[in-house]
Symmetry: C2
C-alpha cells in the first residue's frame, strides 16, 4: 500500500472554481491526513487560499487556461488540450504522478479528455435500502457482452470499496417481457456472468427499471445509452415530484400550516433526494479514475468527491478490477475467451 | 365517419375480469352512446352483468379460455391462440369486425398476440404541464431510423387525438453529450424529421431523460429498449419518493399532525402520481390498435381505457397515421425514400 494517496485537483472546475475546490480539499485532508495534493489552476486565485496543513501537503502547478462550464466538449478540447487545469489533472493520473483526479468541471469536457481504455461512468443511485452503483451512464454506447462483463467487474470492485460488502449483488438492466428478444449482448453477458461465477460478485440476473430504486442490486449494469436515459429519467421524476409537493403544499392555508409543522420531515426528504449526492459520478477505466463532483457543489460536496477518490485508492480499486478480470480471462477455460464473446 | 364505434372487449382480462370490464363498458357507453360492443369471454359470468342499454348494443361471444395474469407469453400463446378471449378480441380488430380492442389482461401475452406491422407500445407520461406520449416502451428493440420516424408519426397522430393540438411537439430521446456518438439511427431520424417538415408534427430535436417530466415535448420517441427502461425507472422513482414521503411523515408527532392538516394536498399529490393513469398503454400498429388497461384497475379505470379507444376511432387515428406516412414517402422526393434510409 502506498504511503500517501496522491490526488490531482482541477482547482478551476465547477461554478465556483478555487473558492470551493481548495476549502473542499482542506476538509477532506482533515479526515485523511495521508493525502498529498497536486493542484492545477490559476496561482493568483489558489495560492491565497492555500494555508496551514493543506499548504504543507500541496504542490501547485500554475496554468491560466480553464475549461468553462458552458463549453462544448469539442471547444474544450480545442483550447484546453495540453494546458487546461482539467487536462493537466487527468494527465497527472495517466502519467502516474497522481493516483486519482477530482474535478467539478464540465462533464462533456471531462468525458472527452479522460480517454481511458474500456471507459465507463459510474453514478450513485439513491435507493430505498441505501445506494446502488449504476454504470455505464454515458461514456460509451452499445456495449457488447464483453464490455458488459467488464462493467460488472468494475462496478462490483467499486461497490466493495464504497459499501464494504464482500460480494456485491450485480444485476443486468433489461426489459422484462419474455417474448420480446432482449438485447442480445445483455443476454450473452448474463450467460457469461452466470457461468463464470466470478469471485467478488454475486450475479442476480436481469433487473427492470422499476427495481433499481428498490435497491435489489448493489450494482446495476447497462450499456451507456440506456443507463444515461434511466438515471436522467429518474432524476427528472424526482424533481417533478418535488415540484408537485411544493405546489400541493401551497394550495390551502391548512396545507401550508401542515407544511410548517412537518418541516423537519420535509427537510429530511430533501436531503434524501439531494442532487449533490446523485449528480456527479466516477469516470472509470482500466488506466485511471477521475471523480466528477457536481458543478454547482459547495466545499462539503467537493470534499465528499475527494473522499470517494481517496477510498478508491486506499482500497486499490484498479488493482482489484485488473485482478478479477485476469481471473475471469485465465481461470475459466470452460467459458469462451473474452475476445470470442464479443461478436 | 362510421355510424358506430365498434369496440371489442377481452371481458376476462385483468385481476377482476368481467366484474370490472362489463361495468366499465357501461360507464363508457353512458358517455358515448354511439358505441357497439363485441364481448369475448365466459357467458355464465358476463351475461348476468349485461343489462339495460349496454345489453342492447352488445354482442357476446362465448369462450371458456382466458389468459391468466401470471402466464408467460409463450404459455399464453400455446393455450390461448385462436380461442382465448384476448386472442378473439384482437382478432376481431384484425378481421375488421371491430375498430379497436380493449383488454386489462397480461401485457406480455397481449404483446405476443397483437402482432401488428410496425408495432409500438405508447404510454402516457404525467408531466409538469400535463401529459406526454412516449413510444415505443417495449414492443420492439433497436429501431432503425425509419422505424423511429414511423413512431414519430404514430405518436403525433395519437397526440392530435388525445391532446387536441394541431402540431404536437415531437422530441427524440437521446443522451446529451456532444462528443459521444449518439445512436446513429437516432441522429439519422433527427435529420429526416428536420428535413421532411411533416405536416401535423413539430419536430423539436433531441431531448434528454431529465426533460421528459418537464413536458417539453408532447411526444417522446425512443426505440423500445431505452423507452421501456426510461418509463420504468421513472415509475420506480415515483414509488420511491412516495415511500420516503410516507416514512418522513410518520417520523414525529409534529410531522404526523402536519400530515393530517395537509391531507387534502397529499390526496391531490397521490392523484397526480396515480399508477392507474400511467400504467397501461396503447398497442399501436399500422393494422390495428389495442388499448391496454392496467390489470388491477377498477370499472372507472377500465372505462377510461374504453374512452381512449373510442376517441382514437372517432378521430380516425389509423387513417391519419397512414395519410402522414404516405405524404412522407411520396411528397418529399428530396429526402431518401424510406427503404433507403433503413441501412
Amino acid at each position: 500500500m502506498p504511503d500517501k494517496v496522491r490526488i490531482a485537483l482541477d482547482a478551476m472546475g465547477g461554478d465556483e472554481g478555487a473558492s470551493v475546490a481548495v476549502p473542499g480539499a482542506d476538509l477532506s485532508l482533515q479526515r485523511h491526513p495521508d493525502i498529498e495534493f497536486l493542484l492545477f489552476g490559476d496561482e493568483a486565485k489558489i495560492a491565497p487560499l492555500l494555508t496551514g496543513p493543506l499548504k504543507a501537503v500541496s504542490r501547485l502547478v500554475h496554468t491560466d487556461v480553464a475549461v468553462q462550464m458552458d463549453e462544448k466538449p469539442s471547444q474544450a478540447l480545442r483550447h484546453g488540450r495540453w494546458k487546461s487545469s482539467m487536462w493537466l489533472a487527468i494527465d497527472a493520473v495517466k502519467r502516474g504522478d497522481a493516483d486519482v483526479a477530482v474535478s467539478a468541471g464540465n462533464t462533456g469536457a471531462l468525458m472527452a479528455m479522460a480517454k481511458f481504455s474500456r471507459p465507463a461512468i459510474a453514478a450513485l443511485w439513491p435507493t430505498l435500502r441505501g445506494e446502488s452503483i449504476i454504470l455505464d451512464v454515458g461514456a460509451s454506447i452499445g456495449a457488447d457482452a464483453e464490455h458488459l462483463v467488464d462493467l460488472a467487474v468494475m462496478g462490483s470492485a467499486m461497490a466493495r470499496v464504497l459499501f464494504n460488502v464482500d460480494r456485491p449483488k450485480v444485476g443486468l438492466l433489461n426489459i422484462g417481457v419474455e417474448e420480446v428478444k432482449g438485447l442480445e449482448p445483455v443476454r450473452e453477458a448474463g450467460r457469461i456472468l452466470r457461468e463464470a461465477k466470478l469471485p467478488g460478485l454475486d450475479y442476480i440476473g436481469f433487473i427492470e427499471g422499476t427495481s433499481i430504486g428498490e435497491g435489489v442490486a448493489d450494482v446495476v449494469v447497462s450499456e451507456g445509452f440506456a443507463g444515461n436515459i434511466a438515471i436522467k429519467a429518474a432524476e427528472g421524476t424526482a424533481r417533478q415530484f418535488a415540484s408537485y409537493l411544493r405546489d400541493a403544499m401551497r394550495l390551502t392555508l391548512r396545507a401550508r400550516l401542515g407544511y410548517v409543522l412537518a418541516r423537519a420531515a420535509f427537510a429530511m426528504l430533501r436531503e434524501k433526494m439531494d442532487p449533490r449526492k446523485a449528480n456527479g459520478g466516477v469516470f472509470l477505466g482500466l488506466n485511471g479514475i477521475v471523480i466528477k463532483s457536481h458543478g454547482g457543489t459547495d466545499a462539503e460536496g467537493f470534499a465528499a468527491a475527494v473522499d470517494v477518490g481517496y477510498d478508491m485508492v486506499r482500497h486499490s480499486l484498479l488493482g482489484k478490477i485488473k485482478q478479477t478480470l485476469d481471473h475471469y480471462v485465465r481461470n475459466e477455460p470452460q467459458i469462451p475467451a473474452v475476445g470470442e464473446v464479443a461478436t
